[in-house]
Symmetry: C2
Subunit: 319 residues, 2 copies
């Protein structure tokens, strides 16, 4: 007797949550939720496609984790508190052990951040996972991409590029999914920066998460804000996990890698000390890369001299 | 120069809306929305997969319409007022004429119901469309599946089965997507019953939309409510669009067809006259099929005698 659609939902996607604001969760035509009074609702959705966003053979728990993490990272970038998630899962067949692992990865991350899975859809088809997350932020405290001003510092959290290195190791066959390699672990299980995002409320002038590469994403932030950006390559945070790589490779990974869920934000210089202190208390390092400038585009400098860097972020439909 | 991901969003999915409750729409990490004070948020998501929910070659405007309609139908079933939608679109390549038609179908329906598209994700992959809709309902007025009581009337709106007939005509090659055939039109462009859903607030004891077939969906409603159901087959609404079919075929289509977005609900008998009047004023016919009973399961009768009907609703992972 194969597992039916309703069994899949009942068995794997109906864990109860302790949130008191879920009036009606999984199992009806829609979920009924009570928004936080006076707050803006923050809504994001992201889709992962097998072979595109994750490699065939990726462990199901990592897919469950990533599908939610990429969405929570969007909420982090808005300074929001996550609350609820909906899952649309298209998969070729209902494999019980795959589903159990996927659900563990998804609920593990959800429970760490107090997120309740309140609904969704389960269909047969190619392996495509879409999650929608909903959260809250005081309306005037939301972080946007568009508020950076000339003179603001450009800050990035942690050390982006480590996940991209892990992905390349998997793609090239130098590592397997079971590897204990720190780069592969980061790629499969990076944690979104929700606490940092909330700490930036009222301080950061603009923020976004690094999903398509630091350089391309900084360009987007600068465009949205109507200013330019100037960064010094010698300030790039180079992770210890990348020290075996040549410096040019390290820089390439930091500038173009996604999937670490780091935050990129701008800040008036006099707030940096306070925010760095807050972040450090939460176990998160920050690095100032340069500052926003009048004009447009992103300029990279090395030892004060202009450097041309090829390539921007990932674009799904570019050739 | 192929169309990039960000061009796709800017060109096809950034139409402005007149809603004042969208603080920030498409283009940042997430949307910022102001929920209606004192209301519950209603959230639903549904996924359409090519070859499974729609046939290869389906006109793009019909896919855009259906992807939103199936979600709005879930909100109708809750008695909710729709407000916002997010779109996740996975497609093999960015075809401009396909995208223009898809967007027309989606926005056409969205604008008729005051829904703003506020965000989403566009990725390359197999053709899979996921939409999430968000809306509002006063918390105590939401329609659920679980409130039916023995003695309540069982009512269905309109005449389900017409869309299923259209689908079968397309599948068998008896009709094409361009056909003026009313059954094919219904399948491609059925309208969700949002006004009826809102009218049922405070009156219906349980409601759901008919998505997997009337008989299977009535069974779900009865189970959720902890009661049984008894319907008389001679009361089934038989649409004029089906009159060329033998009676047994008409009954099969009405009992097992989905895709018309009709509402199935239960009502204390003394409310039926008022609700029927309201529905008729909105151009929607209603039909009483029988009543909820103590016990469990769905009994079908013809001329008062028990009839066995094989099959229930559609299950994605059943063999």
């Amino acid at each position: 007797m194969p597992l039916g659609e309703f069994d899949v939902i009942a068995r794997y996607f109906s864990r109860s949550s302790t949130r008191g604001d879920v009036l009606l969760g999984v199992g009806d035509d829609a979920a009924l939720l009570m928004p936080a009074p006076g707050h803006a609702l923050v809504a994001a959705t992201d889709t992962l496609v097998e072979g595109r966003h994750f490699l065939p053979g990726t462990p199901a728990d990592a897919i469950g984790h990533q599908a939610l993490a990429v969405n929570l990272s969007d909420l982090a970038a808005m300074g929001a508190e996550p609350a609820w998630a909906l899952l649309s899962l298209s998969m070729p067949h209902a494999d019980e052990s795959w589903l159990a692992d996927f659900a563990d990865g998804l609920y593990g991350l959800a429970e760490r951040h107090g997120v309740a899975l309140v609904g969704g859809d389960t269909v047969s088809g190619p392996l495509v996972v879409t999650i929608e997350v909903l959260g809250f932020v005081p309306p005037n405290a939301a972080l946007r991409r568009s508020g950076a001003r000339a003179g603001d510092l450009i800050i990035v959290s942690g050390a982006p590029g480590v996940a991209a290195a892990g992905l390349e190791e998997l793609q090239s066959g130098r590592a397997t999914f079971e590897s204990k390699d720190a780069r592969v672990r980061r790629f499969l299980r990076a944690e979104p920066r929700l606490a940092l995002g909330r700490a930036l409320r009222g301080f950061a002038t603009a923020a976004m998460d690094v999903s398509d590469g630091l350089l391309g994403d900084l360009d987007k932030l600068a465009r949205s804000s109507g200013v330019g950006a100037c960064i010094d390559l010698e300030r790039l945070p180079l992770a210890p996990e990348l020290e075996a790589y040549p410096l040019t490779e390290q820089e390439r990974l930091v500038l173009h890698g996604g999937d670490d869920y780091e935050l990129l934000f701008t800040l008036p210089a006099d707030h940096f000390g306070y925010i760095e202190h807050l972040a450090k208390a939460g176990g998160c390092s920050l690095r100032c890369l340069g500052s926003m400038v009048r004009g447009e585009g992103v300029e990279c400098r090395r030892d004060g001299a202009h450097v041309n860097i090829a390539g921007t972020g990932y674009d799904h439909f570019a050739s």
